[in-house]
Amino acid sequence: MKMAHEIKHHLTDDILMGYAAGTLPEAFNLMVAAHLSLCDTCRAQAESFDAVGGEVLNESMSNSAAMTSDSLAATMALIADGAMNSEAAVEQTADPVLPKPLRNYVGGSLDDVNWRGVGMGVKQAILPTSSGASARLLFIPAGAAMPDHGHRGVEMTMVLKGAFQDEDGYFARGDVEIADSDLHHTPVADIHEDCICLAVTDAPLTFEGLLPKIVQRFARI
């Protein structure tokens, strides 16, 4: 996949390590998988964190647990039964906006996204992930920013189409803005064209928290 835009805003070590360790909520894993689909730098990092996991496993003699005496025979019987849960290959058409992990969650391409208007031309589609964190696609028409009220929890926003700008810089396809509760943006955001983003957050979905801050900033909600 050719990158027109060089990604400048990457995932953090914390997040990549959590992805490798398997400790992130599903919505965060989706963000990581979507970003790695667009970013070779973070993909290599993620593989390195897998390698750390491999070494921790390999050296984990003290944490190992004895298998039952007939376990090898039982495993050979499992093997004789054939491969488990090999998922059927679903032919997917490429989509210029949604990388494959996101296509899996919308069940097709961008045309299949079940958008719901939330006012001011902003649309969102909540993706089906486990509780603990939520993921959604956002469609934000060109708009202006408004003061930010600060974040609760961790919120990550990745641009899939279009771009936005704030005091942290310019965010285009593949760039991830990571905001946690410590961070208070003074918004200088601006969008030059309609923007599609993936946003994930582990903040509880209270009424005001229903829309990610990024929408509130853009849409004057």
Binding site: A34, D50, V52, A65, T75, A83, P101
Partner: protein
């Protein structure tokens, strides 16, 4: 060339040549057969390479034998080493003994069935098994699916270059040693981060250490590992 200086921790970047997807749909039905006489464990050790690659090259050779000859003796050795570790990992992740036993067997069976997807120029056998166990943990214990990145297309499948295999296996040996040589407090945190299904905040709660301390210790540990991998 990597532009950001903080990204120097790439044991797997060198020698990286094709996708290595664990849970992706397997579209490669045709298995590649290595040229006759290729013995991964012993052949052409490059000059300067240490003899002690742990057992990494042995495990690689076992995987080839499982893939090409359904070699049960090789599988049994792999099983003896890795199954108890996988089971321990699953127990630390919250599985009870019988569930962990069952899952560890499934993980090892997956190693057999997916042996043709293991790429020794991309990862050690331990890393590959770790990722299978981790995915099984998410599937069975958390009952979630784990989104995987889009596969890269890297051209036709072919037998990996031996020098690439050696390089990757040796780098994982260096990484293993670097982890073992971390200061106790840092090593413990790295272990906890992988073994136990805890976020950094949960580790902070458990240990009573401030979250900032946890994060900075992990950051220091990663700096050491990156330094070791230079």
């Amino acid at each position: 060339m990597l532009k950001e200086p903080k990204f120097i921790f790439d044991p797997l970047l060198r020698g990286r040549r094709r996708p290595f997807m664990l849970t992706g749909v397997d579209t490669t039905e045709t298995q590649t057969t290595p040229p006759p006489g290729v013995v991964l464990a012993r052949a052409e050790r490059p000059k300067g390479m240490k003899n002690s690659d742990g057992k990494r090259m042995l495990w690689v050779s076992h995987m080839t034998r499982i893939r090409d000859h359904q070699d049960q003796a090789a599988f049994a050795e792999l099983f003896d080493h890795f199954a108890p570790r996988v089971k321990g990992f699953l127990i630390k992740s919250g599985a009870n003994n019988s569930l962990a036993e069952e899952c560890a067997q499934e993980v090892m069976a997956t190693c057999w069935h997916k042996a043709h997807m293991f790429d020794p120029a991309r990862a050690s056998v331990a890393t590959w098994i770790f990722t299978i166990a981790r995915n099984r943990k998410i599937d069975v214990l958390r009952k979630e699916r784990r989104p995987e990145p889009e596969e890269l297309t890297w051209g036709p499948e072919e037998e990996p270059d031996q020098a690439d295999v050696m390089a990757i296996q040796q780098e994982s040996e260096i990484l293993g040693r670097a982890i073992a040589e971390l200061p106790e407090a840092q090593r413990e945190l790295i272990q906890k981060a992988y073994f136990g299904d805890f976020t950094h905040s949960e580790i902070a709660d458990q240990t009573g250490l401030p979250l900032g301390t946890i994060k900075s210790r992990i950051r220091l540990a990663l700096e050491r590992l990156r330094h070791a991998m230079k």
